[in-house]
């Protein structure tokens, strides 16, 4: 078995201790999603409900979605504050996308960042890798 399965940490992203990621796009916007570790712990995702609405303002820590697998369910929180520009409805129609591509096609929401400094408070890939190694 692949020892790294379900533990991939991608460069260029920032991470929370609840296993969400945020990726700044350089123009004051950012994408958010859940990490490889999160999707792997949940198992086959059967349902995603995005509760964040396009155009609304949210704060870091607000619930943006619920993900369900056959045997677990989890809230997903926004890693940072901002205005929701777009939600990825494609993952509602095919939730398995989150399992297959947690860092790319499986993104949850796109935000206009309220304060780019918030990103600095989150874990770097190296820190998140250590965090996972320590038991997550």
């Amino acid at each position: 078995m692949d020892a790294n399965k379900g533990r991939e940490v991608k460069e260029g992203y920032r991470y929370t201790d609840k296993h969400e990621w945020v990726k700044a796009e350089g123009n004051g916007t950012a994408l958010c999603g859940i990490s490889d570790f999160a999707q792997n712990s949940l198992g086959d995702i059967v349902y995603v409900e995005l509760s964040a609405e396009s155009g609304s303002d949210i704060s870091g820590g607000d619930v943006i979605a619920v993900v369900e697998s056959a045997k677990a369910a989890s809230d997903v929180y926004s890693p940072v504050s901002g205005k929701v520009l777009e939600i990825n409805s494609a993952i509602e129609d095919s939730p398995e996308t989150v399992n297959k591509s947690p860092y790319d096609e499986g993104w949850f929401i796109k935000l206009e960042l309220a304060d780019t400094a918030e990103l600095e408070k989150l874990m770097t890939p190296a820190q998140y890798t250590d965090f996972l190694a320590a038991g997550g």
Partner: protein, 473 residues
């Protein structure tokens, strides 16, 4: 897969509606609908074969040991069923006069009395229709209590090992939830608890013994901490089988508790229900109990509803009467000595099975257990988990344990043999478990692809949830 709707063909139905010989009272067509096409047209013999064949695809406790932890799948005495199907009970209308239901009311009254003796409590309601309904009722009692005392306490503490119904019941009553951690040894973490109890603490819910099958060694201390703070202590009696006739919940310090008659008191589980979840309380809480209550006056029994402090009604009628009738029969058959024999044997059986397995399987909390215990898949070859082990158990003619619960132990298998298994069956089950471990190393594919010998192969629960099909089209 066989489904009744596939067997339908016009003209086969056996049913004959009695002829009406009087006037035909027409109801305007704007009120009526035509349902004749919605229901299958099958003959009685087909119907019987359909369900008899389906029944053969069910595992049941009358077939073999059903070690589903915290579910107490014990043998259900047949006399229970015989008496519960007596027309003198089944045809009794819930709105009939109390004078003409004295037999039924007496059974309710006496069962409440027996349950008071068994729990040491001062008041009992039989109304809740299941354990979770009992919990909900119990949390409502807590809410009512603080409403009456005028204290604004909005939080209930629950251990991280609790059954999901505890937090769900708390949420349904608008309380906030605080989760207290368990120690690695399976007790409530007293230090954390100390820091959590404050003026907002309405109470704490604790399963006794816990969902780990272990009795909390600080139970009286916890009770004192709560009571010193004016908080109430709720006992989840899902695992009452471990202490039945041996120790009483009131003596452990609980103020409110529920029991599961379909677990501890031998009423069958019906493939999902019905159950019954009586709630017992200490003296100061009796006034809040739901209505109707059975009262005995001058040798006559009656339903009464006029109690000013009651939380009100919680059931359409008076709870699951035919279920408590069975529990009544069970208690009368066993008596005090028999009930004690139940818990002692249940605990002995569980410890014996644990002794047979603890060197073969990972045993995360190394304490002697009560009526059930936890092992898990640690040490199995990578990729073979509790999930696969539980499916492989089915191949050997046993039901699987409760799996992936409690959440505090990773990949938990919770095994509860109950008191109605003999020594040989426990040994056979242990052999199966040991064989599966061997297979996991030597022929892993057979475990990974299990089950093989069951009426169907492994069901795809992911597809079931991704594309829900919840009715036949």
């Amino acid at each position: 897969m066989e489904i009744i709707f596939n067997k339908s063909k016009k003209g086969k139905n056996s049913y004959a509606v009695p002829q009406w010989k009087g006037k035909d009272y027409q109801l305007d067509g704007r009120y009526t609908g035509n349902t004749s096409l919605l229901l299958p047209d099958v003959g009685e013999s087909e119907l019987v074969r359909h369900y008899v064949n389906l029944s053969k695809k069910n595992f049941c406790v009358d077939e073999n040991m059903y070690p589903l932890g915290s579910c107490t799948m014990k043998y259900n005495p047949k006399i229970n069923e015989k008496l519960a199907s007596d027309p003198g009970f089944t045809s009794l209308h819930p709105h009939c006069d109390c004078e003409s239901s004295q037999g039924a009311l007496k059974i309710i009254y006496e069962l409440e009395e027996y349950l008071k003796k068994i729990t040491g409590m001062k008041g009992v309601t039989l109304l809740p229709a299941a354990g979770s309904h009992g919990e909900l009722t119990g949390v409502m009692l807590i809410k009512k209590h603080f409403e009456k005392t005028g204290e604004n306490r909005d939080t209930i503490i629950i251990p991280d090992s609790a059954h999901g119904t505890n937090p769900a019941s708390v949420a349904m009553c608008g309380f906030k939830l605080k989760e207290v951690k368990s120690t690695p040894e399976g007790d409530v973490d007293i230090k954390s608890l100390e820091g959590m109890i404050d003026k907002n603490t309405a109470g704490m819910m604790l399963t006794s013994p816990g969902t780990t099958g272990l009795f909390d060694r600080n139970i009286k201390k916890i009770a004192k901490m709560l009571h010193d703070n004016g908080s109430l202590f709720y006992g989840d009696g899902a695992n009452l089988n471990a202490t039945l006739g041996k120790a009483r919940f009131a003596d452990m310090g609980f103020d409110i508790m529920h029991m599961n008659l379909h677990k501890t008191f031998s009423t069958p589980h019906g493939g999902g229900g019905p159950g019954a979840g009586p709630v017992a309380v200490v003296e100061s809480m009796v006034k809040y109990l739901p209505v109707p209550r059975v009262v005995k006056k001058g040798g006559q029994y009656s339903f009464e509803t006029d109690f000013p402090d009651t939380i009100g009604r919680i059931h359409s009628f008076a709870g699951n009467f035919l279920i408590y009738l069975r529990a009544y029969v069970y208690i009368r058959l066993l008596g005090a000595s028999g009930l004690k024999d139940v818990s002692e044997t249940a605990v002995l059986n569980a410890n014996y099975l644990l002794a047979l397995l603890k060197d073969e399987y990972n045993w995360p909390i190394k304490r002697r257990c009560m009526h059930e215990f936890i092992i898990n898949d640690k040490g199995f070859p990578s990729g073979i988990t509790t999930d696969h082990i539980s499916k492989r158990i089915l191949d050997y003619g046993f039901h699987a344990p409760t799996v992936f619960f409690p959440l505090i132990v990773e990949h938990s298998m919770m095994i509860e043999p109950t008191e109605t298994e003999n020594r040989e069956t426990l040994e056979k089950f242990a052999d199966v478990m040991i064989t599966i471990k061997k297979e996991a190393f030597e022929t892993p594919a057979i475990v990974l692809d299990a089950p093989h010998n069951t009426p169907i192969r492994r069901a795809d629960v992911v597809q079931a949830a991704r594309t829900p099909v919840l009715k036949w089209e």
